[in-house]
């Protein structure tokens, strides 16, 4: 790493979560041990393995985006894309930025996103008119001839994973680098890390970064119910997602968007920005053996780059996916680096698993913890699992004791991202 690296700080936050759609409400809910997990309402979930999840209680993009031109574009956006745009707009405003106030060529955007599932109604009619007989074989010949005409013309653009970034760049006039990372649960940390490097190499001064994902869509639910380990605790939604708990039985699906304004320190100071925290370390890699050894190495690299020692870390904000395999894997890496005492916090018990958005909203929670000086508890880790020998923080709100927080996310295949943030002390 270059010695005279440019420093990068967080100057704006925007969050949409099942327990709060602004930073203060979100953080207060975490302190109050609130759960946003309920029986799913967007469609009758009775047929699903996992019938509960973390839905946004209300999502009204019009209340945030008031410009008529920009609103017209909503119909070209899937819910995931709208959520990303709204979170980014809130972060931009929270940083007290205005279009025209910054050099657009030195302002970038980078988001983590996943596959965005089609709404059923966009494809239903086309499928129906292409059906042969009544038992439901759909004829490709009929689809090509007639069905296709019943699909909305801009259908594909509504669902491309790069659309959150693109709509953010258009709406906020950010003409610098633009990228979208599609690395599942690691996506938004990898996006944030890449934006951090771009700011350090002095080709941009400001970045709007984040992650967005909604799985509150029947196609997405059906797919994830088939291939993900999801909790069957249908009768007790708020207890369903149990990070590092002995009796965990899988994740619950959520929806969320989180966004940050990342800014080069001198640029931020010059315009008198409020600073939430400093981004001081980042590393990523691939834990091929999925046994935590390479993951531990990546955490150490991130700490080393941050100039932080393991015992200066206030807490590790873990992935806490609550599946059989993921939690022991993660715990092994955390234990290896931090030993048994560093508090580990996981917030999926409150909001569920929001895939590509997870890293962003979870990191936002740690940044808020550092800036408020208090660490909220982990929900639902009631019986410690001996296979997860780490200090999960469960006992109420505790004062932040040390300057650094470490955020960790990874995919089921082994892609790992680690971010180290430091409390801002002026």
């Amino acid at each position: 790493m270059a010695a005279a690296a440019r420093r990068v700080v967080f100057t704006g936050l925007g969050v949409l979560t099942p327990i709060g759609s602004d930073p203060d409400t979100y953080f207060a809910a975490l302190c109050d041990r609130k759960s946003g997990i309920r029986r799913l309402t967007f469609a009758d979930p009775s047929a699903l393995i996992c019938q509960v999840g973390g839905e946004l209680p209300e999502f009204k993009p019009n209340t945030v985006i008031t410009n008529k031109e920009h609103r017209k574009a909503f119909k070209m956006m899937a819910r995931t894309v709208q959520m990303g745009l709204v979170a980014a707009t809130m972060a931009f405003r929270d940083a007290r930025l205005e279009i025209g106030q910054i050099d657009p060529d030195r302002a970038g955007v980078e988001f983590g996103a996943g596959m965005i599932a089609s709404e059923l109604d966009d494809l239903g009619r086309a499928s129906r008119v292409s059906m042969v007989g009544t038992d439901g074989a759909v004829s490709l010949g009929l689809w090509g001839e007639r069905g296709i005409k019943d699909v909305p013309p801009l259908w594909m653009l509504k669902y491309l994973p790069n659309m959150p970034s693109c709509h953010v760049s258009i709406t906020l006039d950010l003409r610098g680098p633009s990228n979208t990372i599609t690395a599942s649960d690691a996506a938004s940390l990898l996006a944030l890390g890449e934006a951090y490097r771009i700011l350090q190499r002095d080709v941009a001064d400001v970045f709007v970064v984040g992650g967005t994902e909604s799985k509150m869509n029947p196609l997405s639910q059906a797919r994830h119910n088939l291939f993900q380990q999801l909790s069957r605790r249908t009768d007790d939604p708020s207890k369903a997602h149990r990070p590092f708990d002995r009796d965990r039985d899988g994740s619950v699906l959520g929806e969320a968007a989180g966004s940050f304004v990342l800014e080069e320190l001198e640029h931020a100071k010059k315009r008198g920005s409020r600073i939430y925290a400093e981004l001081v370390g980042y590393a990523c890699g691939f834990d091929r053996a999925r046994d935590g050894l390479v993951m531990a190495k990546i955490i150490r690299t991130a700490l080393h780059r941050a100039g932080a020692k393991a015992d200066e870390v206030d807490h590790v904000n873990a992935q806490g996916l609550a599946t059989d395999r993921s939690d022991p894997w993660e715990a092994k890496a955390i234990r290896d680096v931090f030993g048994p005492k560093t508090p580990v916090w996981a917030i999926k018990g409150n909001i569920g698993s929001a895939g590509a958005a997870a890293g962003a909203v979870e990191l936002a929670a740690s940044i808020l913890a550092l800036s408020h000086g208090k660490l909220p508890p982990t929900l639902n880790c009631e019986n410690r699992d001996p296979e997860c020998p780490i200090q999960v923080h469960i006992d109420g709100v505790r004062a932040v004791a040390k300057p650094y927080a470490v955020k960790l996310n990874f995919t089921d295949k082994g892609q790992v991202g680690v971010v180290v943030v430091k409390r801002w002390e002026g």
Binding site: M1, L48, S127, M131, G136, I148, D173, R175, S178, A183
Partner: protein, 431 residues
């Protein structure tokens, strides 16, 4: 100007014009087209019923026990094959002398394809005969029983770079990006930066994609971006020609091994070329169209030149994005003229897409590989099907026939839906 120089030490390609870099380049020099009737599915009634497909691909010819990937999409299968070629070419396959945690993967690769029969049947049975509102309960009933879990999982975008990293033991940084048609160009550019700043010594990078499936063709047809010249598939992709009517959908994968120069030297690796410039910008204009005056593209090319420390006249050849759509080819021409001024008229610009079609996420890297071969062999690939000049497109597009020229530095452009721009500059390696 960059303290760590980055060179290309291996390449691999699975494309509609062959299953190796050699075939890819040789077939382009001959001006061959990869286009023909769609055989991946029965597409005869679709508005566009042809595409540029990878022929006779068999994963078993490339890796052992291909059955392990039977549920994976073509994107993953192409990626595994092209990655192995690039790694073997660079002598980094099973090379235990190299610390595997310093080898990264950065792919611009797309998603797998939906299970069209079971998805549409589930929708059809859940949609009333006279309406369009799908009943989710009915949809769940059918989809949960008919979808295959492994197939659905393998569609997820992180699985491709995950499989590649696991199969070839690459434990360094692992990214997948999705910036539509700019994705693999972007991946190569960001991989370059990973090595420059010391986060990896070498990165396997590129892209892989196939959208030649019913939903892919449906989506592009509805956007009216595909050529509908169904009676003459091989004549359909005609970048910069007045009568161009859209792109030809392609598929495939391309991979390059990027490596830090000293690392490559120490292990006496063969060096094909040096990657010296990368620029990326957003149009910030519209998701449906690129900026009509090429605003983002101009800034992007200028940035790549600045990154490489070059003047415009240092570039000898441009491999254009050149999709064969009215809008792209006009705006790209405007951008090239803006950046290169009078020199633009002396600067050969050709489009590999005239022959390969548009490989979407994989397009950028395959075109970069074409630039590397152009530098090595001194022959520029043509733009085929160039028959009628367009007054708005008045540059030297290397029409119809390959042409000899000593090329030392080449520019490769990739522009994606949503206004994503990437430019890469590759140079002959000079010590």
């Amino acid at each position: 100007m960059h303290s760590r120089r980055v060179v290309i030490t291996g390449m691999g390609a699975i494309t509609p014009l062959g299953h190796s870099v050699q075939e890819l380049y040789a077939n382009q020099l001959e001006g061959k087209s990869g286009a023909g009737p769609i055989f991946r599915f029965d597409g005869h009634t679709f508005p566009t019923n042809f595409a540029s497909q990878v022929k006779d691909f068999d994963l078993a010819k490339h890796i052992r026990e291909p059955g392990r990937f039977k549920e994976s999409g073509l994107n993953t299968k192409f990626a595994l094959a092209a990655a192995k070629q690039a790694l073997a070419d660079a002598n980094l396959l099973d090379n235990a002398k190299v610390d595997r945690t310093t080898l990264g993967v950065y792919l611009g690769s797309g998603e797998g394809s939906h299970d069209f029969p079971n998805l549409t049947v589930s929708l059809a049975l859940a949609c009333p005969a006279d309406g369009f509102k799908v009943d989710p309960t009915e949809f769940y009933k059918h989809s949960l029983h008919s979808f295959g879990a492994a197939h659905e999982y393998e569609m997820e975008m992180h699985t491709t770079s995950g499989h590649v990293a696991a199969e070839y033991d690459l434990q360094g940084p692992n990214y997948t990006c999705q910036t539509a048609c700019a994705a693999s160009g972007q991946a190569v550019g960001e991989a370059l930066e990973l090595i420059r700043r010391g986060e990896a010594e070498a990165v396997l990078t590129g892209g892989s994609h196939s959208m030649i499936h019913p939903f892919g063709v449906t989506g592009f047809n509805l956007l009216t971006t595909l050529s509908m010249r169904n009676d003459e598939p091989t004549k359909a992709s005609r970048p910069f020609d007045l009568n161009r009517d859209g792109f030809v959908l392609g598929e495939g994968a391309g991979m390059v091994m990027l490596e830090e120069l000293q690392h490559a030297r120490k292990r006496k690796a063969r060096i094909y070329a040096e990657l010296i410039g990368y620029g990326t910008t957003a149009d910030a204009y519209r998701v449906t169209d690129s900026h009509p005056e090429g605003r983002g593209a101009i800034a992007c090319i200028k940035w790549a030149l600045k990154d490489a420390g070059l003047q415009p006249t240092d570039i000898d050849y441009v491999n254009a994005h050149g999709t064969s759509t009215q809008v792209n080819d006009r705006a790209e021409t405007i951008a090239i003229k803006d950046v290169f001024g009078e020199y633009a008229y002396k600067l050969p610009v050709s489009s590999s897409k005239s022959m390969l079609g548009h490989l979407i996420c994989a397009a950028g890297v395959v075109e970069l590989i074409t630039c590397v071969e152009t530098i090595r062999n001194g022959v520029m690939v043509p733009t085929i099907n160039y028959e009628t000049p367009d007054p708005d497109c008045d540059l030297d597009y290397v029409p119809n026939r390959a042409r000899e020229k000593k090329v030392s530095r080449a520019l490769s452009n990739s522009f994606g839906f949503g206004g994503q721009n990437v430019s890469l500059i590759v140079s002959r390696f000079v010590d």
